[in-house]
Amino acid sequence: MPLSQQELGELKRTAAKIRRDIVDVTGWSGGAHVGGSLSMVDMLVLLYWKYLRVDPARPDWEDRDRFVLSKGHGGVGHAVVLANRGYFPMEDLKTFNETGSKLGMHLDGAKAKGVDASTGSMGHGLCQALGMALGARVLKKDTRVFCIIGDGESNEGSIWEAAMAAAHYKTPNLVAFLDRNHYMIDGYTEDVMSLEPLADKWRAFGWETRVVDGHDLAALAEAVEFAIAWDQGPVMLLCETVKGKGVDFMEAKAKWHYGGLSAEMVAKAKQSIGEG
């Protein structure tokens, strides 16, 4: 059991805080990709508060672990995590989406500290993550690269190109999370473009694949530790998640892929999330 009770409690509270902040930003920015950000909070919290070997004070530290948000529209979630972790002031979140600000829908690594890859268009991040993993190999460093991809995003051929190449090059320092929240813009993924059997596909592509509850921090932690220890090749943690997790009126609804929140809805949402 990698997490002590105390750690677990702290992480849960952090996750709740992150969720509440995401709802806040969605509120004051006029709208954000709230559903898909809420579904990946637990993965992000585990990475940024336990497993990523990073230093917010030194965002360009050469030997840091890398994190790529391939489903780049989750920028609001990533930004909230980075701010809470100390990469930039929480105040900056107030400028989310404003013209010319450092933070917007799809984070720009040239503007926001702590963003290892500027993503947005689907299917790019995993390729870059692979490049980083191979780069670490060339430089003989033990840098780890973590990447979160989306299930809708997995329609993109380039995801599978990267998957094939990672297996070919047996990159043990690459760990991918698939935020399997089952909904994309046009609806339920299996109605739009079916992905199942998804875990089988990743296994067939040569990735050591584990299916895990993406909201069970303890289970996730075990999965991540397994992934880090696995040295035979890349690992895919297929995380079963709920789009809009934490906010009862958003959960499992395609329409909350992107949305705006009135002050009243913000309050309701935060109440639903609770303290963790």
Binding site: E62, G123, L130, M132, L134, V138, E161, M164, A165
Partner: protein, 339 residues
């Protein structure tokens, strides 16, 4: 009789063995020895694009991504982010179109130190036909901010471009042919500077601005026109399309008042358009003509024949200049074999 048949058993993919003039593969390989940060990437075309030479010498720094160009360019971005200097090579058609978004969004938008060696530009992959011809690539990549676009005139200039693109802290797209193109230079010209056009021949009647394989033809045409027609034809090797050498263009406008551009590329959006931008912005009057592929798709054929078809070779340029300057010419009619 020795009994050996004529052997045309080389394949269109064996550029490495036969194209003596395409030396960049060796150059890159030598650079790789001095620069441990250089890594090579290929999309199943290591032999055809010469990057295989680097790969053989430094297998730990060479990655073949198979026929998956999008991932290759994304990975190149990732490698660059780790502080390495990736040289990515594939055919121009695939570099500019198949991997277009990855080149633009992962490499150029993030302003990464990725060097693209786009081979088989224009119609140089002749027999492979339209699907493998890169007749729009310059038009496409010119539009990417942060990208430097170079079209070297021959193998020697390519070697220089490869060496000197390392001085640019950002993405570079170097577009070359298939390796059998005639050389314009007889050795590397160390005075080569990215962004600075080279005056290959001085002149005052008209200026031909060319890039890539057409430079050789422009120089030949200029020579023939001087000897036969008494014309003074300036030739500018505009190897860098972006940033284009505006000063050289403006000088040609002022001093010759007639400009003819030639490229192994569509007349839409490439060298010709880039030159036209400069001329139009200058507000100066100038006779201007573009020679290139006239906004059509190109048929299959030997590349030399295709260049002849589209008038981008020596004869085509000569004819165009004569047409522009209203000149007639008497052909040499003695076809008796010398003894």
């Amino acid at each position: 009789m020795a009994g050996v048949e004529s052997s045309t058993s080389w394949t269109v993919y064996d550029a490495t063995k036969l194209s003596a003039r395409e030396i960049y593969g060796v150059v890159l390989s030598d650079l790789g020895a001095a620069r441990p940060d250089i890594v090579g990437l290929s999309a199943d075309l290591a032999k055809s694009t010469q990057i295989g030479a680097f790969g053989e010498r430094f297998p730990d720094r060479f990655f073949n991504f198979g026929i998956a160009e999008q991932n290759m360019f994304g990975a190149a971005a990732g490698l660059a982010k780790m502080g390495l200097t990736p040289f990515v090579s594939t055919f121009s058609a695939f570099a500019s179109m198949r991997a277009c978004e990855f080149l633009r969004t992962d490499v150029c938008y993030q302003n990464l130190n990725v060097k693209v060696i786009a081979t088989h530009g224009g119609t140089s992959f002749g027999s492979a036909g339209t699907t493998h011809h890169a007749t729009e690539d310059l038009s496409i990549v010119r539009a990417f901010a942060n990208l430097t676009v170079i079209v070297p005139a021959d193998g020697f200039e390519t070697a220089q471009a490869v060496k000197k693109c390392l001085d640019i802290a950002g993405p570079v797209y170097i577009r070359i042919g298939r390796g059998f193109e005639p050389t314009v230079y007889d050795r590397e010209d160390e005075s080569f500077q990215i962004g600075k056009a080279v005056e290959m021949r001085p002149g005052t009647d008209i200026t031909i601005i060319a890039c890539g394989p057409t430079v050789f033809h422009a120089v030949e045409a200029s020579r023939v026109l001087a000897e036969n027609d008494g014309l003074s034809v300036r030739v500018l090797n505009m190897h860098t399309i972006k940033p284009i050498d505006e000063e050289a263009v403006l000088r040609a406008v002022a001093e010759t008042r007639r400009i003819l551009t030639v490229e192994d590329h569509n007349v839409v959006g490439g060298l010709g358009t880039a030159v036209a931008d400069v001329i139009a912005a200058s507000g100066k009057g100038c006779a201007f003509t573009k020679v290139g592929i006239p906004d059509t798709f190109t048929p299959h054929g030997y590349p030399e024949d295709l260049m002849n078809l589209f008038g981008t070779d020596t004869d085509g340029i000569i004819a165009k200049v004569r047409e522009l300057l209203g000149r007639e010419f008497e052909e040499d009619e003695d076809w008796e074999d010398e003894v």
